[in-house]
Amino acid sequence: MKCHEIKELLPAYSNSDVSPEKAMEIGEHLKVCEDCLQEYNLIVKSWESLDVWPDIEPEEGYVSRFWTRLSAEQTWRERVMSGMKNLLAKRALVPAYAGTLVAVLVAFLYFQVPLSKNRPPEMIIEEDVDFVESLELTEQMDILQEMDWLEDLDVIEKLDAV
């Protein structure tokens, strides 16, 4: 390879990112070519020189600033949901949640029991009589509605008259 080809490959060579054959060829070339060697050293040293820019420390209190900012940015619905989520996430409160759930369930079942059980017997009888009467009336109405044959009787009567 010629010098310009070698120089193009030097950044990849510095990353050990060339094939073993090319790496060997470049290595051999650098032993004899001062210009390419200087170029290679520049690449390596410039990369190493990036170390002079050290990390900086964030300003203190960034965690509390985060929560303040989050709270300011959240809508009321997000806040409620977040609060619920936090509340539900507390394992210590699990027995309390379970107790409340059981209480609600018991109350629900209690009020689901028919109210008639708490009434005096005479009221129940009256109620039942009303119910049976209305049922009988309904049945009679149904029978009358289904009496299509009555129309046939009318026709026969008229024929007799004629």
Binding site: P11, K45, S46, S49, P58, F66
Partner: protein
């Protein structure tokens, strides 16, 4: 992160303490402005907090958070450059409060050396800032954040060969700009 999904605040805070400085420095080196980096780092963690529910552990959390940081930084830079109001800081952050104690301490470097060090930092910072966005991002992730090629590829949403190509071009660019800084290396 899975603990954060359950709504725990404490795990989120420990996550924050673990990654805040790294994300802050990553953004600072990319945008070149301390206050902007602070705001964007807060934005990154707000984004992480709000999307904790939708986080699926397909990618490493680290890659995910760097991707968010990259996207927010790029958006901000593009917004700023469209308004033509970007200004890079001229300050050298590490010099704050560090020069005087060093002068008083006989074992420390001389004032002259400190100034030379600051000058070097400034040149390095400007050299990195002058790189195109993608190259700059790749250099910061590789050199300062110590990410693998695969992690950088995931963060930048490109292939590993593309990352290597970006780094090779960045090295070529940095070589010319850092010629003067390399006396001591």
């Amino acid at each position: 992160m899975l603990e954060v999904q359950k709504g725990h605040q404490a795990p989120f805070e420990s996550l924050m303490r673990k990654y805040y400085k790294r994300i802050y420095n990553f953004i600072y080196r990319f945008v070149g402005h301390r206050q902007l980096a602070e705001d964007l780092t807060q934005d990154v963690f707000i984004r992480v907090y709000k999307s904790a529910d939708s986080y699926h552990p397909k990618a490493k959390f680290q890659t995910w958070i760097y991707t968010i940081a990259k996207n927010l930084s790029l958006n901000e830079l593009r917004k700023k450059s469209s308004r033509n109001s970007i200004s890079l800081e001229q300050e050298i952050p590490t010099s704050r409060g560090a020069v005087l104690p060093q002068v008083e301490d006989p074992r420390a470097k001389s004032l002259w050396e400190s100034m030379a060090q600051e000058e070097k930092q400034s040149v390095v910072r400007e050299a990195i800032q002058s790189l195109p966005e993608n190259q700059r991002m790749a250099v910061i992730l590789r050199r300062y954040e110590d990410l693998s090629y695969e992690q950088i590829a995931q963060t930048l949403q490109c292939s590993v060969p593309a990352v290597k190509s970006l780094l090779n071009r960045a090295k070529e660019g940095l070589k010319g700009k850092l010629r003067n800084v390399m006396g001591d290396y």
